[in-house]
């Protein structure tokens, strides 16, 4: 049995130690908001926060986590940055297919939590690990700036 803390709730799962957090979330806990895109930390679709740090769940074996590690997924993300980001995403209709967007939003929230006035270079650096095959990048950039402005106001 592995004990983890997801969105503030303690969960117990009976899985092998090498199972990545991604599959624990999706297959064991039925939390499907976190997506599988590549499995090798190249696309960011599986991005969650572990103690606030954006983390690729597909390359995080559950054995690397402790029961104290605070895992936050798209289903449980809260706070000023989360609100500003999700509102900006909706205001600018960023999504196309939407499959990458949980990960994009998790990365954007982490960026804006640390930096409420990101430059284009900051955005490139924080978001380059998140692939969007629909290429919604123009709007992701605009939404991050919009959310940053909301947070500064």
């Amino acid at each position: 049995m592995v004990r983890i803390n997801v969105n503030g709730e303690e969960r117990q799962v009976d899985v092998p130690e090498d199972m990545p957090l991604l599959w624990v979330l999706r297959d064991e806990l039925n939390m499907t908001g976190t997506k599988f895109g590549c499995g090798i930390a190249q696309c960011g679709a599986c991005t969650v926060h572990v103690d606030g740090t954006p983390t690729r769940a597909c390359q995080t074996p559950v054995s690397m986590l402790t029961p104290d590690s605070k895992i936050t997924t798209i289903e449980g993300v809260k706070g000023k940055a989360a609100q500003a980001v999700q509102a900006a995403w909706q205001k600018l209709d960023v999504v196309q297919c939407g499959y990458c967007q949980s990960g994009q939003i998790m990365s954007a929230i982490a960026l804006l939590t640390d930096n409420q006035n990101p430059t284009d270079q900051d955005i490139d650096a924080a978001m380059d690990g998140n692939v969007c095959r629909c290429a919604t990048y123009v709007r992701i950039r605009a939404a991050i700036k919009d959310a940053a402005q909301t947070m500064r106001a």
Binding site: P16, Q96, Y99, C134
Partner: protein, 756 residues
């Protein structure tokens, strides 16, 4: 016509060639459906004719709105007005990000005079009789046809539903229907100051007959269509993780399967040692199928680990064992000889020789386009559950419902109607989810048949996807063209070598004419520039490597080759690239219109600083007209960066301008991303790339600023999903050419060392 077409397709099946994966060989596709399919995927300007000539009363009946009470939650119809005051518009087309659920709902809601806040979208069930794409004769999405196809049908349905609500209110109030008005979801009688919501009238309206004649709105009265700030219906669920994709389906007891497929195209299973795989914790079963070896497990991780532990020996007797370099060498050899004629006008050979002799200029170019994967963000997957009464239910981002029903029915030995499809939001497709063989759906159904105990979720990993074929074909173009001494284009000779993905499918009889696959030469054989001497021919080469349409199909390479050649010819003629094109597009007002608009907005002709370049390209595809102007920086080391792209698009009446804009932004990213550094190559028949570490997707820092300008128009609406792709890469190439003088003729650009 419509009834005939659907009936014919339903009775006669889908094609005579069958479906390779399933060995299914039904009867031929009816001639009208074939022609429809041909036109719909962009071949010939008449794509809209079938839809335009539908007899109106018949169409109204076909699209009859079902206004229902609570007892009938999901009728086969287009519009559901429910007592809870919601209006649900059923989309018969797949939404894979292009926003079609929103677009279709807008069309219906406009005529219904619904309030946008009460409108919902849902996917229609699989039912060829009710939901066939009128261009295909079968239910399916593709060729940027969705809006064009549903435009009349949903306006009629919306208007009919509105008339029924009005009639119900008039009856309740005992006033003439002519005195009843509808606005923003409220039905009113002004004289007596009474009003009712749609929900309050739903049950009474449901009992009334469906009107056979309805009056459609005047365009000037539109309140939803063309509105710039109408939000997408999926913009909330796709930002909080609640939108459900096929990948997210969790049926009770569901198991997960991954499939080991031959590493070489055309290989088959020779022998399997599954002892180690069966020992992996969580693995339930291993089954050998004609398409590979399936590992069935309690969860995805166990299935993947189980597959890693499999030892499969493959029989390569019929497999492709050449590498892409050897294939290309074979293509070049083929190109030495004349191919099958796709276009012949005047005498191109002579015109080119004359131009050369009389002070003109001859330009020659060889263009190489690599295999490309679609790599939709959501890897291919489907859940299949066998139904106790026979048949099955499929949960998938289904793009070709009728084909999938037929293929599944063949595998299971049931009737196509016994195959139910629950279409889900699709995480991208770019063409990949619609295959003439229903490939991944067929795999999932075969596994479910072999393991009937529980619903089966077949998951493709990204490696399966990148190595899995159905690529945009590897294509070679050889072009020789000439301008005369005055600088006029006088001769054009083009030879195209590539694989046909229509050959051997139900579409061959329509799509392959005189040995030429129309999708290989579209955009070339029908070149818009008026050249008196045109010769286009093609060689169709065979390989077990599977190929498929890929966002904008043949135009992905034909527009590129054409537009890069045009810039070289303009330079040879000493003319400005925009002026040279404008001269030639005098009889093409819509192409000239987008070209002029893009050039103006981009500041064409203004001087640029050192190291900056600007390039242009213009093209028609899927009855939509698009021009791109691209600005690039070229640094001292010769590395390029795309700074800005200006797009002008004319797609007729625009249902949702912001979604068209989004498609142009995404199309620009798609076109540039692949041109920069994407290719699928093979060594000894094995694919060299595996995942996003080697098939390198466009990322945030690659993305230029994109400015979109839409031509105002009341022409019939056409598509936007694909036409934003073809011209962006040649515009970038032409911008680089303007700085370096080197035409970019081998893709991706990284091959030429100008992209890191």
């Amino acid at each position: 016509m419509l009834h005939h077409l659907i009936r014919h397709a339903a009775q006669n099946g889908f094609g005579e060639h069958g479906f390779p994966e399933s060995g299914f060989a039904p009867g031929p596709l009816s001639a009208p459906s074939r022609r429809g399919f041909l036109k719909a995927i962009g071949v010939g300007a008449g794509a809209l004719v079938i839809g335009a000539h539908l007899p109106m009363p018949a169409l109204a009946a076909e699209a009859a709105p079902k206004i229902v009470g609570p007892a009938d939650p999901r009728p086969h119809a287009f519009i559901i007005v429910a007592p809870d005051n919601t209006v649900t518009v059923l989309a018969k087309h797949l939404d894979k990000g292009q926003g079609i659920v929103t677009g279709l709902a807008t069309i219906a809601a406009e005529e219904l005079d619904a309030d946008w806040s009460q409108v919902r979208g849902a996917f229609a069930p699989a039912d060829q009789k009710l939901y066939a794409n009128h261009f295909f004769g079968v239910q399916g999405t593709g060729g940027s046809t969705a809006v064009a196809n549903s435009w009349d049908e949903l306006r009629m349905a919306g208007a009919a539903a509105r008339a029924m609500l009005v009639a119900a209110a008039a009856a309740r109030w005992k006033v003439p229907a002519g005195e009843v008005t509808v606005s923003k979801g409220v039905v009113r009688h002004a004289a007596s100051n009474r009003s009712l919501t749609f929900g309050e009238l739903a049950e009474e309206a449901a009992k009334l007959p469906v009107p056979q004649q309805v009056k459609l709105k005047d365009k000037k009265d539109y309140v939803l269509i063309g509105k710039p700030d109408l939000h997408r219906l999926d913009h909330v669920s796709k930002t909080n993780g609640t939108a459900i994709f096929a990948m997210d389906i969790r049926r009770p007891g569901q198991v997960t399967a991954v499939l080991a497929r031959s590493p070489r195209f055309g290989g088959t299973v020779k022998s399997v040692d599954d002892a180690a795989a069966r020992k992996v914790p969580g693995v339930i079963d291993v089954v050998s199928l004609p398409v590979g070896v399936a590992v069935i497990a309690k969860n995805t991780w166990a299935a993947i680990k189980g597959r890693e532990a499999l030892t499969v020996t493959w029989d390569d007797a019929k497999a492709e064992t050449r590498g892409t370099d050897a294939m290309l060498a074979d293509y070049r050899k083929a190109a030495e000889k004349p191919g099958d004629v796709a276009a012949a006008k005047g005498d191109a050979e002579k015109a080119i020789a004359d131009a050369k002799a009389k002070g003109g200029h001859v330009v020659e170019g060889e263009f190489v386009f690599p295999y490309l994967a679609h790599a939709p963000m959501e890897p291919l997957n489907a859940v299949v559950a066998l139904n106790p009464e026979g048949g099955c239910t499929i949960w998938a981002g289904s793009q070709f419902q009728t084909v999938e029903q037929m293929v599944a029915a063949h595998i299971l030995g049931c009737k196509p109607e016994q195959v139910k499809i629950e279409t889900q939001w699709a995480g991208g497709s770019f063409g990949r989810r619609a295959t003439p063989s229903a490939d991944y759906i067929a795999e999932a159904v075969m596994i479910a048949k072999a393991y009937p105990k529980a619903p089966v979720h077949l998951v493709w990993t990204r490696e399966d996807d990148i190595k899995g074929g159905r690529y945009r074909p590897l294509v070679l173009h050889k072009i020789t063209a000439a301008v005369d001494a005055k600088g006029d284009l006088v001769g054009w000779k083009q030879r195209i070598v590539g694989q046909s993905f229509m050959a051997g499918t139900p579409f061959e009889a329509v799509m392959v004419k005189n040995g030429v696959d129309a999708t290989m030469v579209e955009g070339a054989s029908d070149m818009a520039y008026p050249v008196a001497n045109l010769a286009v021919d093609a060689h169709t080469v065979a390989s077990p490597v599977t190929t498929l349409w890929w966002r904008s199909v043949g135009h992905t390479h034909t527009a590129y080759a054409k537009e890069v050649m045009i810039d070289r010819l303009a330079k040879a003629a000493g003319k400005d690239p925009v002026a040279f094109r404008m001269e030639m597009l005098r009889d093409h007002p819509r192409l000239a219109g987008v070209l002029k608009l893009a050039a103006e907005k981009a500041g064409w002709g203004q001087p640029l600083p050192q190291g900056k370049g600007r390039g242009v390209a213009v093209h028609e595809s899927f009855n939509t007209y698009v021009a791109h102007v691209a600005d690039v920086s070229v640094d001292a080391k010769g590395q390029i960066k795309v700074d800005r792209v200006v797009v002008a698009v004319d797609c007729g009446e625009v249902v949702n301008p912001d979604i068209v804009k989004a498609q142009m932004e995404g199309g620009a990213g798609w076109g540039i991303g692949h041109a920069l550094r994407d290719e699928i190559t093979m060594t000894d028949g094995k694919v060299d790339q595996a995942n996003f570490d080697s098939y390198l997707p466009m990322r945030m820092s690659d993305m230029p600023a994109v400015e979109v300008h839409i031509v105002p128009s009341h022409e019939r609406p056409t598509g936007a999903g694909e036409p934003g792709v073809p011209t962006v890469a040649p515009a970038v190439a032409n911008a680089v050419f303007s700085v370096t003088g080197q035409p970019l003729q081998t893709l991706p650009f990284s091959r030429g060392g100008i992209v890191s």
